[in-house]
Symmetry: C2
Subunit: 245 residues, 2 copies
Amino acid sequence: MSDIPSSHPRYRSLITREQLAAHTKTGVVSLEGLTSHGRGEAFDYLLGEKTSASALEAEKLAARVLLAAKHPVLSINGNTAALAAQEIAQLQKASGAEVEVNLFHRTEERIALVTNVLEEAGCIVSKGAVGRCVPLPHGRGLCRPEGIGSADVVLVPLEDGDRCEALVSMGKLVITVDLNPIDRTSKTASLPIVDEVTRALPNIAQECDRLKASGETISMPEIDARYFLRQAIKDMQEHLSHALD
Amino acid sequence: MSDIPSSHPRYRSLITREQLAAHTKTGVVSLEGLTSHGRGEAFDYLLGEKTSASALEAEKLAARVLLAAKHPVLSINGNTAALAAQEIAQLQKASGAEVEVNLFHRTEERIALVTNVLEEAGCIVSKGAVGRCVPLPHGRGLCRPEGIGSADVVLVPLEDGDRCEALVSMGKLVITVDLNPIDRTSKTASLPIVDEVTRALPNIAQECDRLKASGETISMPEIDARYFLRQAIKDMQEHLSHALD
């Protein structure tokens, strides 16, 4: 389908979009997921499309949180699986966290499709009966009672604000990966990582490996969530200041 | 398809996305168009989802430019038609500009579909043979020699940076409507309007009507394009400053 010439200055970004669009054909990514990806791209422009110093700090802290957790779960949706299945497998291996599929536009068929994408990349995906564990209406409140339902730490990349808030209200420590520092997802997160998901997850995995190799006893760290949001906002303001140079 | 509860705080925005997604089923909107809409949404968050004072200035100036033009053309793509067909019809009536369909992902079938959406909303769409009028490869260089090809003023809402630049290089006065003030589309435009398309087009139309009713002789105004970009950036920085309050 592509008629984008490789001479186009945004060639790589356009091709990533086409790949994500192709994933909608199979049902892994919902059409609304494409819009969501676009919002992420816009905020990533404002970060210069790279991991900021404070995002890297947040990622290192996330590694510590995952290793200190009693029952950490990576909650994965269609976009995250389509963009970063291999990075999730790497992080699961490094952190020992459970992987559970959780979709905003939930159908059994899509759950199976996303599970398949993850398993093909080497993830071990927890399956089984779901119940209304999260205080939200419709399919969005469903999850596995033995998975997300009883997790103490949940990492939710690219999550809806409503669901993030609900998980926090259940007393869980919620780590988000979201490029928008000013939406409810980032604002309500216990530990907001403002970075692109394929950059963030490998950084967390690498720090897990480093911490484990160090032999250090890992305890649950203090987290100043607002600090990470303030820094991301500062970075964006700074980027905007030079955008017309 | 919708299982979004009306209690969701972003209900309206989610429903607009679903409507745009539904337009991809017919082919009016390309899948990449959904990503593009998402980028716009993100920048609109940073404008507080309203027309800024400087955007309104730019819209009033655009009305003057369209009325002073010898041969103004509104270049309409799938997203613009899906979001704002009635607003385009209103602006065509108020400005007397020609309406031509121009697609990034161009096929004859999509041209016909987008034309149909516009005509149903009351637009008079110029049709006929196209040629490679714009110095760009593939379908993106095609337009009507008697339309965009010979226009002195072209309004291109939601346009690709590459094409905007090509039109400017042909000596045309290019008015853009784009929520991102720091991409090439806005930076290369002769008159960049940093606003959401369904807010911007009625403002331009209304000013056309006012100017015509005033009896004033309309001449081509001076335009300080950078001023509009600087103001939009300032507004976004300001919004970010208060985003955590």
